[in-house]
Amino acid sequence: MKGSKKHIALAIASFFLLTLVLTGCATSNVPTDIASGKTMKVAFPWSPASLDPHGSNSWEVMRSGTGETLVRLNDQLEPIRWLAKEWKQEDETSWVFKLEEQVNFHNGNAMDANSVKESLLRSLEKNQKANDLLQIEEIEVLTANELKIVTKKPNSALIAHLADPSTIIVDVTTIEDKNTYPASTGAFKIKQFNKDESLLVERNEDYWGEQALLSEVKINYIADGNTRLLALQSGEVDAATDIPIDNISILEKDEKIEVLTAPSLRTHMLLFNMNSPLFEVVNHRKVIDRVIPRGEIVSKVMMGHGTVANSPFSDILPFGKVERNEEKQSIEQLMTQGGWQKNSIGIWEKQGKPFEVTMLSFPQRPELSVMAEIIQGRLVNEGIKVNIRQVENIDDALEKEDWDLSMYSMLTAHTGDPQYFLNVFYRSDSQANVSHYVSNSLDSTVNQLNETTEITSRNQLAVQAQETINADLPQSFIVHPKTVFGVRKEVQGFIPDPIEYYYIHSQIDVHE
């Protein structure tokens, strides 16, 4: 009996060992060998579906440090030279650009006015957003390093919009070639791309600017925020972006890791449906706006990693410093002016109908749902019933469902310029005007902005537009969240940039 048990135990142990060996053998070795030299490993949340710099994943391509545009944004979010060393506006619609000389693409081909033209034309052909931003009528090659761009109508934001990643300059002959990666001009070039997994970029030895200090950067795509945090803690990656706010306290206790934050150009807001019978009345919008505890939301929901929003644009922008109109009348005064009275249970009602609203929220940004609940609680205390409805696709729900209020989040000035957002989100005839806000005065200000080139005047017009928005209150702006990064202390030169695609640059380094 004892002997047979021993045999069974031995058989089980052997089976277990065999299984372990087989489990190990089942894995293939994905060839991601990292060459000798200094390598930095970074974790980003979103993996590009393709490396086409003019496709829908242009941001991710730009983030890899491989792509460059004619213009870039400095730390003041102003457009400065990059592949274009200077430019001059000839008339309302024509601009002449002088390109940097001695610039080669990653495949060794020289970048000149012709290749830049081809690249921009492809961008316009493949990316409708590039069309909307640039509004280009014609591109003319003047000399080997000079280019003339003519816009369909006056587009004063052209220079800032040329910093958009959809306009990355690339040797177009390499994009459709299945045997190679797109050849751009950045400090790093693509070495290996494993879809959904990682992107390995290596130093571009032929770079026209300052040579990269690192020999390679490996970008790991980790969608789950907790896994990004654990990968950083385990040393598997040297830096991670978009750390979930509730994990910051864990990282702060870790001596090997530094927590960095950058103000973002994003705005979390509460939309009013101005087609809803309740919110076509400005006083009702003012009541809701007054109740929102912005300071509490910043400190408790955002854990201090955000700033109170007074307007659609972040206050780090030169045109973002706008005061919010503090309503002087009390909630009671605002409500009673409209004929509302509190009933026996403290709810405002008119002609027997309670003040009851539907608020939409969505799960993709969990902090917005928490904010919705806080606002709901405050409104209930003030006698307004709020029914929160979670929807999977917020844009679809805003278009097709009945709603009064909705949580929303937008990147409002991704090129450091207000023109695109004001045109698309606020113009009375725009379909993306989700609040159904109609204002002739704002339309006229935006038209003026479109035609004004002088920066100070443009900023003034943007402020004027925001003042109109704040007076009419189609939305209540709540918070400008900060982006949180976790960086291991060995990393030098990591700049928490408000622009989400300049994280990897040539002067970033890792000290062993």
């Binding site: 009996m1 047979s4 045999h7 069974i8 058989a11 089980i12 089976f15 299984t19 087989l22 489990t23 190990g24 053998c25 089942a26 894995t27 293939s28 070795n29 994905v30 991601t32 579906a49 393709s50 086409d52 829908s56 941001w59 409708q128 957003k129 909307d132 494993n194 879809k195 959904d196 997994e197 990682s198 790991n220 980790i222 969608a223 789950d224 907790n226 896994t227 654990l230 990968a231 803690q233 385990s234 598997e236 994003r266 993709q364 999977e392 844009d395 679809d396 729900a397 097709k400 989040s409 937008m410 990147l411 991704h414 695109y420 957002f421 045109n423 698309v424 725009s430 379909q431 993306a432």
Partner: protein, 309 residues
Amino acid sequence: MIRFCCERIFQLIVVMFCVSTFTFILLRLSPGDPASILLSMNDVPASEEALTNLRIELGLTESLWSQYVQWLIDVFTGQWGTSYVSKEPVIDELLRRLPATLELATAGLLVMVSITFIMGIGTAIFSNGYLDRLGQFMALLGSSIPSFWLAFILIYIFSVQYGWLPPMGRSNWKNLVLPAVTLGVGMGTVYARVLRANMIELMNQNFVKAAKARGLSKSRILVFQVLKHAFLPIVTMLGTSFAFMLGGSIIIESIFAWPGLGKYIIDAISLRDYPVIQGYVIFASFLFVSIHILVDIIYVLLDPRLRVS
């Protein structure tokens, strides 16, 4: 046997056709405009012109019927449509991710089978002893611990605390260990209890008593008489679990940043990449039905009584 296989293959074709058509209709009825989702991927609003142009480019302005016919043509021409996001043939996108999912499913199955065998046989032999109680506790734990929680605990212990195993990715064999264990532990401990119960029941059967009377050793009886019969119900369970794992373990792949089908399909659903979702449904239904056919065949091979019936 040939007739049996032909019948099952016919069933496979019918099931795949019905499931894919049903999915096509459901997707079109479900909320979400792919053009609007694609254009606002970075939370920058899109213009009406951009939306209209993209809808035309993706064929979304065509009638439902012509979209369906176009999709059927795509399926039969072998490309299964083109992904809205990557602009590449769906079949290529699915096949590119299949090896990762196959690796994970196979490793997960091996862990699951190992646990089932080791714990099932061990606890059956030492029933009501300490090992049996431990097995009972493990089964309770395995079935009640959510897999995402187990995944994070394993990463914390083996990656953050000890640094033995990587927390994510698919660079070498070490990357496979944690996701495979997470995948296999939960079901393995439960199946072990099923195997134990079957074995204990069979050990009291007359044919086992007769074998003992003939002087066969206990290990021989266990392996060649009891285990063979006790394993039959487990085959179905393992088959179903394997099919699920081959379809992509969505949570595990997301947590461990494993570039397989599960993670891919979740992204495709959130971006309303219709051709990818439809292609995946055909692929998953093919897997499920094929594995069930395989299980039926194994059943027939293992149990001669079924061959007669």
